[in-house]
Amino acid sequence: MRTSRAMRICLYAYGCLLIVFLYLPLVSVAFASVSKARYLTFPIKKYSFKWYSVALESSTVSELFVTSLTIALVVTVFSLIIAFFGALAFARYDWRFRTWFQKLILLPIFFPQTVLGLALLMWFNSIGVIPSWKTAVVAHLVWIAPIATLIVAIRAYSFDPALEEAARDLGANTSTIFRTITLPLLMPGLISAGLFAFLLSWGNFPLSLFTTGADSTLPEWLYAKMVSGYSPLVPTLGVASIVASLTVIGATLTLIRIFRMTRE
């Protein structure tokens, strides 16, 4: 296409600027987390890891991490099961209500999460369920399972149904087909869907806000502190939460690599 050199340079610069724009606030948080002062001002006068050791010793902090982690793990497992089948119904099989189903899935994504959380709170209340981390899992699933389904569906679109049909003609039953053909073919999609499910649940705040009851997740605690005033632990735990996400991403990528190596 006719794009002048100057235009290209501008667009590349624009792209770089966007990345800076996305990550600049995190730079501020990172700096703030290593400031020694109780009330933060830039430029930072004294650096120290004091607040990290305070966080490590606090029992509230470990509780927050455990709650968030439990929710994220349970959400990931359920999302993967739902998304595996959901994606097949979305992309692979031709059945009567397929287009309806496709549109139903999009509705929770096109929905303000805070309001969804409140609606669930009223629903749990009216059927007599007391909110706890378990109800938060349900709330996260309403939003995350459809997203996971869409991610797996993209993968499901690109595989040829003839493979399954051939296996069936050769006498394989449904569970064998799932195990030997469908599952391996969808695996890359399932891995990214699992990663998305975990990380979106780990960082989610608006859905947890009303549905965790007496339990509290890390993003909820951070929000409460941010709105009520500054606490030096906020940037510290913010960084800790990001480091946890990065660890999960790193671990997943390593697993994929090992998985590939053992196959070759």
Partner: protein, 284 residues
Amino acid sequence: METYNRKMGLISALPLACVLFLAFLAPLVVVAVFSVMPAKVFGLLHMPDFSAYAVFFEQGYYRSLLWSLGMAFVSTFILFMLCWPLAFAMVKIFGRFTTVITVAVVMSLFVSENIRLFGWVLTLMKGGLFEGYFRLWTGIGFESPLYDVPVIIFGLVYVYLPFMLFPLAQGIAMVSDDLRQAAFDLGATRIQVLLKIDLPLAAPGIVVGCLLSFVLAAGALAESKILGGQAVIAIADDIETAFTFGQNWPLGAALSMILILIIGVLALIGISRVDLDKIMGRKF
């Protein structure tokens, strides 16, 4: 084969359909019923009196609704203008750099929006990253832009950028290069190509991107709370207050219903016009 497909489709759809019926559609019905209950009740077994809807008009809650919708509209417009050139470059011009941008944007999504907005507070506040260093180098301080309407819109643009960028890129990927080339060869100007080819052919992506940004921004809470202080009250903030401090569930439910209806109508119109098989690249 056809009956097998039909049966398997229905069975595979069941788990997700069950979750959505039980934890999405049923709660919406409960909200609708709660919204017509008399004030301050916590059960559903009362005579409906619709008083909560009257309160919406009498006590000026429509103002926060208008603020939310207005800010969502402005931020969607800004997002479209910001993202269009970038999405275009990602699809048609950048090669490997597209992957870099995609990874960078997706990774930012994994950081809780609270932490990112709080980062902007630290960056923009008086004595923050910008003002602190500016004062150190020049000796002149300036007022912080925080706690005002423009900074809330800035926060909305920041948080919802991925929800505009990716659908737009997906839409632009549907615009054929040959068609654009043919138009240029026949003497069309850049503007004509944009208006007659790019925009109409990328329309599904534009619809999804704008709708998603608008809907999410209209129901947003954290931006106005964290960046905006009490400058304006967003409708989601009013809804939260009605439930928590106000202890008035029917009022909260009525406010939610009004927001849900507006968003629901927009979302249904948008979703019904989009062919998902085409956007997501069905091959077989």
